[in-house]
């Protein structure tokens, strides 16, 4: 019984952390709100 409770507790805290990822995503807002983004190749060109 204790094993089940501790495993559930572990899963719950990590699930909350995953939800926190969504909350932080909400805080920083949609990507479109920032400057237009570049794809990988274009980014490397800019960096170069």
């Amino acid at each position: 019984m204790a094993d089940v409770l501790f495993v559930l507790l572990i899963v719950t805290v990590f699930s909350l952390a995953a939800l926190f990822v969504r909350a932080c995503d909400h805080i920083i807002g949609p990507e479109e709100a920032a400057a237009p983004l570049l794809d990988e190749a274009a980014r490397d060109e800019v960096a170069a």
Binding site: V7, A17, A18, C24, I28, A34, L37, D39, E40, R43
Partner: protein, 569 residues
């Protein structure tokens, strides 16, 4: 402080100043470009790992995918380690016939090692099988440190990239940290430790007859291999309950200084690596300077406090002579003395390592306050593997925000404008840990069952209770002692504190990385506050001290400061 103590400190500083640029340059190359030293050796190993695990090494991740990968890996690690402890009685490599570990201790220990905390509510030599020690705990010593390093590198990329969607690949970053940095260093220094007398074998316990005719049980085990990564990865969980005070883990003053350097080497080097990756070495030295000032300040406080001895021990000879170390020797090893014990305590608590070579509970009140405050600083001076750097960089963002408020301009860091989203995330980062510490400690000091775990009352008991949650929530892992943490309450709340202190801090760090990576850099103007100057290093140091001071001053005042003023110790 004795001449020998100054020589040891000087030798340690020499090692730090030599290793920081060397190791920092190497780390920057590992993460900075496509080619890095040792590609011929490490490349095939990494490719084999990627093939076996199905990782696309060229694919990059947005910050949220990076964070979810990290959380998934850590969740599976906790569950795996929990199961391994519970089932160790049925698994091989168990010469001492250890039974399965209890559920509450397994819960606390699994989280403790996955979060790089290594808080231990058990005695390793009488609880864990060799398989659990090696395939469970020691493996987490590597990968948990690698996870911290990965997050730091992701934040650096976020700061440096412009208009980018991605911040790297978690699986690649973690693999490179393990294969190219942690494993080679551990192999080299495990060998060095063996040469200095640290044991490395697969023996069960042996009973021997001493010269006085008594029987003594001598433990065995693969100690040197765990000792090296214990310090290099800022883990701190030792195979023995006495940790680095045990002669099989830390046999001499030479190994003591070596172990202190090992636990400081990577965190200080990461500051230099940051400067190299940013192509502005001064920027790296500024972060290094802030870390160094806070660390050396603690060392120069705690060493004399312990060397001076206990003024309330009347009649005891506490002078340093040719036959005794002198000072406050209660709870300390005679082969180290008060200075080297204080230096170790300061270093282990400022780096999130948590290994100990002396009983912190027996330090003088103000001497014991130093390690406590070092942990409260948030493990940024120089902090844990990766966690020290990303913590300090978040304080740097807070510092430019405060400087921006002073002069009325939009704050910038490395050419990136710091706006409300980043500041909200920085505030979340700073508030989570104090809330966890203070809430759990407050509940525990008004609950009868929790109070019964304390061996001291009054301000010293408050310090013991506060230290336990401070250490766990900050992922340090050192114990002040005087508190029986092996109860269902402390195992459970401690486990939750460690999870929040690790992952609920990493998520906003990665979110900041993702947010900053999207932004275009703005050219420096006359109104830009330069962040690569001694002035900024001073501001950064001040912000860390003030933010922490305001948060924790009341509880530090009620604990060690009151104990010192009352004078009953």
């Amino acid at each position: 402080m004795t001449t020998a103590s100054w020589v040891q400190l000087g030798f340690l500083l020499l090692l730090i100043f030599i290793s920081t640029p060397l190791l920092g340059r190497y780390i920057a190359k590992v993460y900075g470009g496509r080619r890095a030293p040792g590609d011929r050796i490490f490349g095939p190993i990494e490719c084999a790992i990627y093939r076996a695990t199905g990782v696309d090494a060229d694919g990059e991740q947005r910050w949220n995918v990076y964070a979810l990968s990290l959380l998934a890996f850590s969740a599976v690690s906790v569950l795996f380690l929990y199961a391994m402890q519970r089932l160790q009685g049925h698994l091989p490599l168990n010469p001492d016939h250890m039974k399965g570990v209890g559920p509450a201790v397994s819960f606390n220990t699994a989280i403790s090692f996955v979060t790089n905390t290594n808080w231990q509510n058990y005695a390793g030599e009488s609880t864990m099988s060799q398989l659990t020690q090696m395939a469970g705990l020691a493996v987490q010593n590597f990968v948990s440190a690698a996870v911290g390093l990965a997050v730091a590198v992701a934040l650096i990329r976020g700061l440096l990239r412009r208009r980018a969607r991605t911040i790297g690949n978690f699986w690649v970053d973690m693999t490179r940290a393990t294969v190219r940095i942690l494993l080679p260093m551990s192999i080299v220094f495990a060998t060095v430790l063996v040469s200095q007398g640290v044991i490395q074998n697969f023996h069960a316990e042996r009973t021997v007859t001493t010269v006085s005719g008594a029987n003594q049980t001598l433990p065995g085990g693969p100690i040197a291999s765990q000792e090296a990564i214990k310090e290099i990865g800022q883990n701190g969980g030792g195979p023995f309950n006495a940790n680095s005070a045990h002669p099989y883990e830390n046999p001499s003053p030479i190994t003591n200084i070596l172990e202190i350097w090992l636990l400081l080497a990577i965190p200080f080097s990461l500051a230099y690596a940051f400067g190299k990756m940013a192509k502005d070495s001064k920027q790296g030295w500024v972060v290094f300077a802030a870390m160094f000032v806070l660390w050396i300040g603690g060392a120069l406080a705690v060493m004399p406090l312990e060397a001076r001895g206990n003024s309330h021990l009347t009649g005891a000879d506490q002078r340093a002579t040719s036959v005794q170390a002198g000072g406050n020797m209660e709870g300390k090893e005679t082969r180290f003395g008060p200075d080297a014990s204080g230096l170790f305590a300061n270093s282990t608590t400022s780096t999130s390592t948590g290994s100990i070579n002396a009983q912190l509970d027996s330090f003088t009140p103000l001497g014991g306050a130093v390690p406590l405050v070092q942990i409260m600083l948030g493990e940024v001076d120089p902090g844990g593997t990766g966690s020290g750097l990303y913590g300090m960089l978040l304080f740097a963002i807070l510092s430019v925000f405060i400087a921006g408020l002073m002069v009325g301009r939009t704050p910038e860091f490395l050419g990136k404008k710091i706006q409300s989203a980043e500041m909200k995330l920085v505030v979340l980062y700073i508030l989570f840990v104090p809330v966890v510490i203070l809430v759990f400690a407050a509940i525990s000091i008004v609950t009868k069952s929790s109070l019964s775990s304390l061996s001291n009352g009054g301000p010293h008991g408050l310090t013991e209770m506060t230290y336990a949650f401070t250490s766990q929530a900050n992922n340090n892992g050192s114990a002040f002692a005087g508190l029986n943490g092996n109860t269902t309450w402390f195992n459970t709340t401690g486990g939750i504190a460690m999870l929040i202190g690790r992952f609920f801090l990493m998520v906003p760090v990665l979110a900041i990385a993702g947010s900053l990576a999207r932004k275009q850099t703005v050219p420096a103007s006359a109104g830009t506050f330069p962040t690569n100057t001694p002035l900024f290093a001073g501001l950064l140091t001040g912000v860390v001290v003030i933010v922490v001071g305001l948060t924790y001053f009341p509880i530090v005042a009620l604990g060690p400061i009151v104990e010192h003023l009352v004078g009953r110790f």
